[in-house]
């Protein structure tokens, strides 16, 4: 092989490697077991490798005290931490507690709203993974009048 061609091949390989690195994180593919776990602590352990969390005000969870319809409970999750990596929403009373995970993006405000299903009264937790990989937790109990996991 000619020297010039060989160098060219090297650069091509590097370019491909770089492309694979950018945006390659996929929480579902990297931690499939966490999504199937039936205990909240197992889900946290399988996604982050630890269950050690700081209960401070860095993670914030907005939910109603009482949900009349467990099939659609409005929730807003946020963090005051700069450059946090991921957020995970855990619903203790559901068959699979891991409800939603977010991979946080630079330039996106880490405050998201959605609606969730809750089978029964229980705790909802938000885990925020900060830039150093440490975990911060917010926890809130929600009373569910009519469960919403059917369907």
């Amino acid at each position: 092989m000619k020297r010039r061609k060989f160098i060219g091949l090297g650069f091509a390989t590097m370019a491909v490697t770089a492309l694979q690195t950018v945006g390659s994180a996929n929480i579902l593919k990297d931690h499939p077991k966490a999504f199937m776990d039936t205990k909240p602590e197992d889900a946290i352990k399988d996604i982050y490798g630890t269950t050690s969390v700081m209960k401070d005000d860095k993670a914030s969870l907005k939910l109603p005290d009482i949900a009349e319809n467990g099939g659609a409970v409005p929730v807003t999750v946020s963090t005051s931490l700069e450059n946090a990596k991921t957020m995970t929403l855990i619903i203790d009373g559901n068959p699979h507690p891991l409800a939603v995970a977010w991979d946080l993006q630079e330039g996106t405000i880490p405050k998201f709203s959605t609606r969730i299903k809750m089978r029964k009264t229980g705790n909802v937790r938000l885990i925020v993974e900060d830039a150093n990989g440490k975990l911060h937790e917010a926890i809130k109990q929600v009373k569910v009048t009519v469960g919403g996991c059917g369907g």
Binding site: G23, N26, I27, L28, F35, G71, A72, V73, I91, N94, P95, H96, L98, A99, V100, A101, W102, D103, L104, Q105, G107, T108, I109, K111, F112, S113, T114, R115, I116, K117, R119, G147, G148, C149, G150, G151
Partner: protein, 98 residues
């Protein structure tokens, strides 16, 4: 199955509200009937850059509502919403920021 969106820019911040038509069925394990069918990955891109990367499960309500905001947007820009569900179905939609 469609995607409805309201996406508005104020200063340089775009606030995006999505309503995605999808059953988000948990199947038998969640006390329902039939097979599970739920979105398990939803992304929003702006100019090729990912601005929202969400991994939902069947614990997200039917016809998911999603709200978020990102910086560095202009009126007239396009964002692309794309989802994939556990059965392999996908949908992609371009939305213009107002």
């Amino acid at each position: 199955m469609g995607i409805k969106a309201i996406a508005k820019v104020k200063k340089d911040i775009a606030t995006v509200k999505l309503l995605v038509k999808h059953p988000m069925a948990s199947g038998k394990i969640g006390g329902g009937k039939g097979d599970p069918k739920y979105i398990n990955h939803l992304t929003v891109k702006h100019g090729g850059r990912v601005v929202y990367d969400m991994y939902p499960t069947s614990a997200v309500s039917k016809n998911p509502y999603i709200k978020f905001a990102f910086k560095g947007a202009k009126k007239g820009d396009t964002i692309t919403v794309e989802w994939k569900d556990n059965t392999g179905a996908t949908q992609k939609k371009d939305i213009k920021l107002k």
